[in-house]
């Protein structure tokens, strides 16, 4: 079969849709064995006994690992350290905690044997109630981030017009289609090969080396394809360490793939949030004070914080801003960054409050935002490296038909449906880290680029190929970008929208270097400076030339404030009798510098909007505080949006290069695709109905009773 592939198509698209792309769980190693986890059924306490007799005698079972027979992991022998040391404790920190691993010759046999493991506990009182735990937060002296104050604290309280509201969000789970897991193969001489689902092969390598105290070079991590990560695969979880332990112990390759319900308790989540925003403004619409206090949820055994209040510090031009951020330790599993991480949480509160203020002032929320849009970063008092918000507002509002919007809520009715428009802004750090890339330019006309980065879906290889193609004038189908292999030149994990900027800069440097080498070779062999590299290499009898370059993190942070921005416009329809909300139009505008790979960039924005619909309308992990257990831990009851929830999505890019950030002029955009989206929906629901829903997700019951 032949497929049409143009230069903007995803380089691995055909492999992905035809099944050729191989994900971690698909690797078949000789003698592969299968691990299945036994999880705690209490929320807090101590394991008193684990009876594995029946399980061990079940057909095909090789062993049952737990804290009772823990295989030695040298790094775990040291006292202290916060990451949970799996099988090194009899403590139960949360319900659904992995406490034993059954390994058998087939998955089915391991699954069955896991049901035969009998565990007894000494239960202790526990607390999983997030909102109740906030009530006496001061007395509890919660940890968090240092408070931020600019000007006068709580200045909003004395403003001419003020609003003060509370916004809440439930736990969300990443739940990519691909279940989490790992294949570990511990061979002779402490040589370890793993097939992982990870956003960082080097980070996974380091994590395993650290626990087992073996050299990093001994560990080969492969993760060529990742079936979605959204942040959950930024960490090497205890269950992955447990699998490596099992392989070391059994001297056999062991595969672990968790079940869907286990995806809710052992690989992180987006923490619940409780946020209070106070906003003050003059009657003519100038913001005079913002106070943003946020509470996030963390675990008792590990701490997790994120940037919930970040954008409040610089997004709007206010003399007075103060923020506070606290985390509430609960007897639940530890959260981890989820797409748009804390900023998406914070944006929902801030951007709802901004909309509330615009309404209080009887101003168009777009005009109100424009009026308070700062020229320079008001927190750092330095210019933005680039910021085209006003243009983004203009383009997006024209596309969605903002002029049809009425400032008075509930003004547009179409049969049983009320129609409203909402807008919200998203912002995320346009950071650049350090990465190495090796380039091999061959006399057969091809270029191979190598870096130990990952592609969890954004199209890393596609973007890198396009950067190289433009610099070296080589068609993309002659370029291969190799990634997901820890033996390649090092690169950071894929997260925080930094890969294109970080790895792309190294690709840029490699290509510039290769180009100058070719030019030198051409000159030396009396060839024209514009000669094709194939001819130059052949003339010089070189089968290939290669170069490795390391890009550095951006040094201009002192002089410029570097961020990517997004503006989301949505139109919603709200059914007057049933409270059902349908997002009927979406226009997302990305202001993230030069767009390197238009097609995959657009896909990123579409994916972010779909995730945003989930955050706004459907996603909520429900945990029963009486038992500490989730009650909707499956795909039927934890609602990620389906196709029918998603209208056509218009994506607009400002597409102006920002060469301060990197030589491509491109800024990251994976996070901004989602950040702010939920606020736009909530604001549109208010515009449609006059009902302000401050608690996500906006389900029919909340609209009906709002």
């Amino acid at each position: 079969m032949e497929f049409f592939v143009d230069e903007n198509d995803r380089v691995d698209g055909v492999d992905k849709v035809t099944g050729k792309a191989k994900y971690f769980a698909e690797y078949q190693l000789p003698g592969l064995t299968y691990g299945v986890l036994v999880t705690s059924t209490i929320t807090k306490g101590k394991i008193t006994t684990i009876d594995t007799k029946l399980a061990k005698s079940a057909p095909g079972v090789l062993d049952v690992l737990s804290h009772l027979n823990k295989p030695v992991a040298a790094g775990y022998e040291q006292a202290g350290g916060s990451p949970m040391k799996i099988f090194y404790t009899d403590q139960v920190f949360f319900n659904g905690q992995p406490i034993a691993l059954v390994v058998a010759d087939t998955f089915e046999r391991a699954t069955y044997a896991a049901t035969l493991v009998k565990v007894n506990y000494e239960k202790e009182a526990f607390n999983t109630d997030f909102e109740n735990s906030i009530k006496d937060a001061k007395a509890k002296k919660l940890q968090g981030q240092p408070p931020y104050i600019r000007g006068v604290a709580d200045a909003y309280k004395t403003a001419e017009v003020k609003i003060e509201q509370i916004y809440t969000m439930p736990v969300e789970t990443h739940n990519p289609m691909e279940l989490h897991g790992i294949i570990a193969d511990w061979c002779a001489n402490d040589q370890v090969t793993v097939y992982a689902k990870t956003q960082g092969v080097k980070a996974a390598q380091a994590a395993i080396a650290n626990v087992f105290k073996i050299p990093q070079e001994n560990i080969q991590v492969n993760s060529e394809f990742v079936g979605g990560g959204f942040g959950m695969a930024l960490k090497t979880w205890p269950i992955e360490i447990a699998t490596v332990m099992a392989s070391k112990h059994l001297k056999k390759p062991v595969k672990l793939v968790v079940t869907r319900d286990q995806m809710f308790t052992m690989v992180g989540n987006r923490p619940a949030a409780y946020q209070k925003v106070g906003l003050g403004a003059t009657k003519d619409g100038k913001i005079t004070g913002i106070t943003h206090t946020a509470f996030g949820q963390t675990a008792t055994y590990e701490n997790f914080t994120e940037g919930v209040v970040n954008m409040t510090k610089f997004m709007y031009d206010s003399e007075n801003v103060n923020t506070n951020y606290y985390v509430v330790p609960l007897d639940m599993s530890v959260p981890i960054w989820m797409r748009g991480p804390g900023e998406a949480t914070g944006a929902f509160a801030l951007e709802s409050a901004i909309d509330e203020m615009a309404h209080a002032l009887d101003m168009d929320p777009l005009d109100f935002r424009m009026k308070n849009d700062p020229e320079i970063d008001p927190a750092k008092k330095i210019p933005f490296s680039s910021k085209n918000i006003k243009e983004a507002y203009k383009l997006g509002s024209a596309k969605i038909g903002w002029s049809n919007r009425k400032n008075k809520p509930g003004s547009i009715v179409d049969g049983a449906w009320q129609i409203g428009y909402g807008v919200s802004i998203g912002v995320f750090n346009a950071s650049r880290g350090r990465a190495s890339v090796k380039g091999i330019l061959k006399a057969d006309g091809t270029l191979v680029l190598q870096s130990a980065t990952s592609d969890i879906g954004p199209g890393t290889g596609t973007g890198m190929g396009l950067i190289a193609s433009r610099l070296l004038n080589i068609p993309t189908n002659k370029i291969t970008f190799e990634l997901g292999d820890s033996s390649l030149p090092p690169a950071p994990s894929q997260g925080g929208s930094a890969t294109l900027s970080t790895v792309g800069t190294a690709v840029n440097d490699v290509c510039v270097s290769l180009k100058s080498t070719i030019a030198e070779l051409a000159a030396n062999s009396n060839m024209d400076a514009t000669s094709n590299f194939v001819d130059v290499l052949k003339k010089n009898n070189l089968p290939m030339i290669e170069v490795t370059k390391q890009s550095q993190s951006n040094q201009q942070g002192k002089d410029y404030s570097m961020y990517s921005f997004s503006i989301h416009f949505v139109q919603v329809k709200v059914h007057q009798l049933t409270g059902v909300v349908k997002v009927s139009k979406i226009v997302s505008v990305g202001d993230s510098g030069k767009i390197v790979s238009p097609k995959t960039a657009r896909s990123q924005m579409i994916g972010g909007a779909v995730g945003g619909i989930g955050m706004a309308l459907t996603e909520e992990a429900l945990l029963d505080n009486r038992y500490g257990r989730y009650v909707n831990n499956n795909f039927a009851d934890y609602h990620v949006p389906v196709h029918a929830d998603v209208p056509e999505i218009d994506v607009i890019f400002i597409d102006k290069p920002d060469f301060i950030v990197n030589p491509m002029g491109a800024k990251g955009m994976g996070e901004i695709a989602l950040i702010g989206f939920a606020g736009a929906v909530a604001n549109a629901v208010f515009n449609a109905t006059g009902k302000r829903i401050r608690s996500l997700p906006i389900t029919p019951d909340k609209v009906l009773e709002g």
Binding site: Y112, T578, H639, V642, D645, P700, E705
Partner: protein
């Protein structure tokens, strides 16, 4: 999940004999719910009798009665030409259920036999009288947003999750059931039960019995009908409230009406009082509102699902309004 024996037959009589012999045997058809229940340890049959090859897939209209074999897939039934033309309410109800992939595999009989989606029922570490009689009800005092407002008991407030069954109740279907002793026929509305003190029993199918077909009498309810399902996402989500509504109108007067609700009780909930009220009256919003109000007699919320006391009558009004506007 325990090891189990798997048997298959293409003969109804053999299937019935196999089931009658073994108290720990159960039939499997599409398996879209049963396999989940087995994986979660909610149920642990020792023997599965695969009935997919039994000759029970016919759909035929004979003597003004539509006969539907119990092994007809949900999608085959929804796409059937007779169903589309004569029983479009059933088509809508079927299309509102599950996802296209599930409907391709799920059978009519299996749809009737599916168990509640209450989260406490699915988690064997939590209390549930339906799963383990006497263990308590997790949903009372817990997450009960999806739960029943009609016909509840202290033992159980779960709802039956089917959409198809709501449509069938409205269409006054009958169920033909076979056992080694022969066949019997019951009204569809009497097939499912209220929880009462025996929530472990979802329906009145006796041990050893097999649903062989459904029968629906021909009617004139194929012009002004609607199935409205209110849910948390547009597809593949169970109903918060659903309403099957069908009207027969003569000069704006309602000569015949059927109303049934889903997502509100342990069984599909027929709104007889509302139907009686509407018969002979003008099809006006005022009358729809009065009928919806009547439907709510005896409704009771459990906290999180209190919103259904408002959503249910609103959904009735909207379903009737859309049904009236058709044609």
């Amino acid at each position: 999940m325990i090891n189990f024996q798997y048997l298959r037959t293409s003969v109804v009589k053999t299937a019935l004999n196999l089931l009658a012999k073994d108290p720990k045997a159960t039939f499997i058809a599409g398996g879209t719910n049963l396999v989940d229940l087995m994986k979660r340890g909610v149920t642990a049959p020792e023997k599965l009798i695969d009935i997919n090859h039994l000759p029970l897939k016919q759909i035929e209209l004979k003597n003004n009665v539509l006969r539907i074999g119990a092994l007809t897939s949900n999608s085959a039934l929804a796409e059937n030409a007779i169903v589309k033309e004569k029983f479009p309410l059933l088509m809508l109800a079927l299309q509102s259920g599950a996802s296209a992939q599930l409907r391709n595999v799920a059978t009519v009989g299996g749809n009737m036999m599916q168990r509640t989606r209450c989260g406490y029922f699915y988690d064997t570490t939590m209390p549930c009288n339906k799963r383990q009689p006497g263990s308590g009800c997790g949903a009372i005092g817990g997450y009960n947003r999806m739960h029943a407002i009609f016909g509840t008991s202290e033992a159980c407030i779960a709802v039956h999750p089917s959409d198809m069954c709501v449509g069938l109740v409205a269409l006054e279907a009958q169920v033909v059931i076979a056992s080694t002793k022969g066949e019997r026929k019951i009204n569809f509305i009497d097939f499912h039960r209220l929880a009462g003190t025996t929530p472990e029993k979802d329906n009145n199918l006796q041990k050893g019995e097999l649903i062989v077909r459904l029968e629906i009498p021909l009617n004139n309810l194929n012009k002004n009908f609607h199935y409205l399902k209110v849910r948390d996402r547009s597809s593949y989500a169970f109903a918060l409230v659903s309403v099957a509504a069908a009207l027969e109108l003569k000069d704006g007067v309602i000569s015949n009406v059927r109303l049934a609700m889903g997502g509100v009780a342990h069984k599909p909930w027929r709104l007889t009082a509302s139907e009686n009220f509407l018969k002979g009256k003008q099809a006006t919003i005022a009358n729809f509102e009065a009928a919806a109000k009547l439907a709510m007699n005896g409704a009771k919320g459990f906290g999180e699902n209190d919103f259904k006391l408002k959503l249910a009558p609103n959904t009735i009004i909207e379903a009737l309004t859309v049904a009236k506007a058709k044609a």
